[in-house]
Symmetry: D3
Subunit: 280 residues, 6 copies
């Protein structure tokens, strides 16, 4: 992950929490007091965001925090093992505590959940995709956590990928017309993905030359048929399954032979992984 990119975001999160100052710590001990602390996970999971957490403390201490030990993103964590040990100004540690834990908990929660999906289909030729259903302002970080968990990132915004969805199709008057317009007005440097809800739309999409086809909210039978039609037509087309996918049904979907399964819940409905910071 590129810390330059997320530093303003981290600084903003610190500003949000610290506001005009940590009035409790200021009242309790001198700002010159030094301290040592560790971060520990209170449950088992997959670590993501440890560099973000370190950057929180670098910013809260104007660069003077020292880290004597640190696990790496992608490591397994659990109650017995310190994720990070730091040494520096006690007030800097406490000023960064909640922000660092909030980042770490959410990102590790996402990585842990993604890993569960990935593990359920790991013997198949299919990959787990994320969506744009991320927390406002945190997309780059949350997609990084998905990748840490073994998932693949779909587009990051409206500007770096073409995805023709139901509302576009309604405006254009049909899947075929929509894909045709995209082909005409966009340079061939980008792949064109289109969402289809039934087999008629699917045929239009193939005929119009879509590069990627998203099968939206199809049942297992219909999806299997869709996959087989695409494969019989055209080897180059990639297939994504989407809509209502969860830990219970992901295996079923994967077995239809799609290339990708996108799961909004990876980022929109994730339980944080519980971490705590302890002064030592």
């Amino acid at each position: 992950m590129n810390l330059n990119l997320v530093r303003p975001l981290i600084r903003g999160a610190l500003d949000e929490d610290v506001g005009r100052g940590d009035i409790t710590s200021e009242a309790l001990f001198p700002s010159s007091l030094k301290g040592r602390a560790q971060i520990v996970a209170k449950e088992e999971g997959l670590l993501a965001g440890v560099e973000v957490a370190k950057e929180v403390f670098r910013l809260s201490s104007s660069g003077s925090m020292k880290f004597s030990r640190s696990l790496k993103d992608g490591d397994l964590v659990g109650p017995k093992k310190a994720v990070l040990i730091m040494e520096g100004g006690a007030s800097s540690i406490l000023r960064g505590e909640r922000v660092a834990l909030n980042f770490l908990s959410r990102l590790s929660g996402i990585a842990t959940l993604t890993r569960k999906y990935v593990d359920l289909v790991k013997d198949l030729e299919v990959r787990i995709l994320d969506t744009r259903k991320t927390s406002p302002h945190l997309r780059v970080l949350e997609k990084y956590a998905v990748k840490t968990g073994g998932g693949v990132n779909h587009r990051f915004g409206l500007d770096d990928g073409i995805l023709i969805k139901d509302n576009h199709i309604k405006i254009c008057g049909g899947v075929g017309e929509a894909v045709k317009r995209a082909r005409k007005n966009l340079s061939p440097l980008l792949k064109i993905e289109v969402e289809v809800e039934n087999l008629a739309q699917l045929e239009e999409a193939i005929a119009a030359g879509a590069d990627i086809i998203m099968l939206d909210n199809m049942g297992k039978g219909k999806m299997r048929e869709a996959v087989s039609r695409i494969r019989s037509h055209e080897k180059h087309i990639l297939i994504e399954a989407s809509g209502g996918i969860n830990l219970e049904n992901v295996r079923n979907v994967a077995e239809t032979g799609v290339d990708f399964i996108s799961v909004g819940g990876l980022t929109h409905s994730v339980a944080s992984l519980n971490f705590t910071l302890e002064m030592m």
Copy 2:
């Protein structure tokens, strides 16, 4: 909610999603095309964030979007009823779609969950509190959603409330010493809250003059005893229960007689409420 306060946040979320432009819509239809759309919930829940969603579309349309119908925050929503109907530039609608839904889904998810907690204890003299375990950058909005669901907001940051926690106590060498320092160095204009983990700490806290005592991770029996000791000493002290509280055990905790129960999961582990936007 004060929209002035959150407008920069909403603008930032739009910037994050739109980036250098919505390349799909630009390729499919002229930017002068007008459209009409509705937002509908795909499951039942409590609405929160509708003014945020409207502001997203105001910003994506430079103020030209018209809203012909809108439910209000706190209303119940479900699959049959439009939450919001809007009319304006089709490209402005699609540019705002995902961002508006992301805000609406998360905030309504929080409000819906908070309402569940509140309902479970509504016959008792106890209130549900949030924490600072919020999504970075979204604290003001997420705490607003908690309030919409009937919860009460705890402090918004390190600067607007005094809360002496375990790490402070370790640094000061004890609960009593910590509260005493706070009393001495802070003006009496603010209440002093302190976290205690056992009855010995509790006695120190009472003796040192804490205004609010947080009972952290106590079992039901110990918590009941703690409440009774506080009530026998000093009527003015407020009591907060904290740590590991969920929908299963919140009723038990409430019955111990505490004034407040804080639930981190209200904001750190919430499932989004599912909304969709449909061009009409």
Copy 3:
């Protein structure tokens, strides 16, 4: 003081003064020239803001300025003694000169004035409070200077304290009604302060359960009576005197027995303390 918090403010002040560059220094000597300089007070007073001044030069020199000697905030200063001696790029020193002196002069002016008020009442159980009548953008710094001078900070903004004032009372239709609404709609985690102008309002405030009562613009006699009524009712209520207080009358007000005296002039009408920077 938390420099992270005020760094953007200091950078903005440098931008304001330096604009597109220091055209005089650029014309007179090479940017590689090194220099040494001291800051000296030209009159006696109480120092505040020396860390701000140092940060100005750190920013103007991209971190390369060295400080070989420095007094501390709260120290007495006068014409004979260097407040700060620095060594670094001559152009960095001159680029920071005016901004550093402007901060230092205003903050030390405030600290010096606050100390005068504090000294006048130091044998009494009363504390000097500041107000929100601060220079736009400088509130955190000016309140820090008040604290350096021995004063106590009242709320920092509309968001970290409840103060029901004359306009609120007019809107609510009375002191009692206003306090009642606050009690109902706000959590008991915060103290409620209310401004009263006469004894009738005072009785309402006590009856409605105010935590802090501000006696606004009362004469000495009426104030004394107000204090005695409050003390006879309810020991927990804190009393603040406010309105038209200056160095001449502060002692009189203090002798009425109030807990706090707030003085707007600490920050809205203060004479700068005169400092100068000399290349050595």
Copy 4:
């Protein structure tokens, strides 16, 4: 004054005061409540900043505040006459109150003080100048207030005027050398001002071709002699008196025949003019 220029400054001041929201007003009345209010001066003075005050309320109300009456900058104000009457959301009025008054009080204080200096020398061919000793971030506004009071603005920053001061002279090794370097390295599109402390430096400055000479901290006799030497040499040179000038001695200084008198105290040690806002 160009409001575009100061709008970000005003927005920042509102952010500083309102922070996460006006918790008192939110608790006391619905945000839909309308109100009417007037601003009145509590003492006599010269008005400056009324457009800034109006912009505060425009921003606090997202543009919906209506102003039914308003005095203009440069008008005399006093206790009997409304400066500004506004109508709009009551919460918007109260959210803007303190910020608007803080701007208005400081700017009118500066204009009122400047007018006193100007009046003391108005029969003479001399003009009152401000300095860069302004409140950080408020320079454009404070210099506007000086102009409103009849003063003349000296340079706004290090980038829009050349002023060779004592520290530059020390670095260059003399007044003559400094002016010579400036002449050589700067285009003749800008005038060169140099500070001199005695008659020897004055002769050097004249010989080297300074366009403006600042007589720094000279007694009346020496200043008179300096003026006469300059006038005898070279008609084009402008003369500025500077250093320790106050309401008591400004007339004396003016009578020496200088063209300009600069007064730091116009902006660094000014008493606010007292205004109040009343809901009607």
Copy 5:
């Protein structure tokens, strides 16, 4: 073009030019003076940026400027015909003049130049591409101008397209290895482009499965051979010619049969189209 996206850029350009205020206009006429003005091209060319110019004046007038007539981007302009007629505050017009003309001149210069390239190859199946050699901060606008002139936009940044260049190849140890790593680590949702300098690299690129091949700085003969090898292997591969292309040689390059020709000079070495603003 999405004005929301470029508004901050336009505001920044106005801030850069206006700084602390337009001192000339302020001295010459009252800010209430109304005026009317037209913008006219002083030479023939293709218009681009007229909406940007209008936004400049909207911002300089806080939204009060009226436009009574306006050509559209893509129109031909010349000395006789007004591009834009506006009516509003005279000081707002003059405050925006230079910034509006600077945008208009550069963007129209780019569109005019692009059109020349496009016209030279318009009977062939080839398209003119831009590069990332744009003016810092103006990329979105300059690429928009390229599109207005009939060109096609290549990637907007390092984040929305994969282009393996000479330095990447050196790091990876060869074209084949580089493309292989990209294939493995990137999802197939994006096309992979690789730069090759000779036929050996070309074979590696084809073998490794590149989607787009850039022929960098090849002579006409070698380029023709490269095209023929690619076409014989694999129909899906797109071909881009790059390096040292100008108005003299673009036709020759096009005739080799490539799909795209990228021209850095479209944005890095363009002559402005001359426009003027006249008060009417």
Copy 6:
């Protein structure tokens, strides 16, 4: 050049290019990989912007890039000689490559062109001036490049110099009236420049006391006459020639005896100097 001033501009340019991350490099090699690279000019010219380029890499590497060799601005560059050699993270080098080259190419292009103009008139008492026809956001840098090439900077914005142009004159009703108003309303601390198009206007300008006269778009004969009239009247007046000046006619214009020649093309129509970055 003051890097503090341009650092935000450089950071913004990096943000523009890197966006959400360099997806190509991330896919090809680990972020821990170290590398070494040099920047070389591909044609001969005058170097400008090397400190900007270094700052780009400092920012892209969070300060960890090392520069082992560097030419200085104003040095001649050409194909054989490294301009800059750096060592650090390979991904940091590639992330900064395009942005650094874009700055370096444009600034060196400007410096190289300016030097050509300066050389053509170097035996005469005349200086080459730039204008405000610069790339939006890059004015400070582009004017620095002009200075590096031996030119002189005219004003940087509307706020640091007075220039009465044709539109002002039309509004005021004549050159004389315009200059008179400027004289009255502006302090004599600034010089007044006025643009004249013919000899009648010239006489008015002289009579009204202009300090600098710009001869706009005059033929050589008329310009010569204008110069002679000004010189016969008034030695102090500076003369600037402006309008349609290029490398072909600059010598002719210079020989009329003007003090300054302003050339818009120095910044609005300049060819970039070609640089490349090579991993070593």
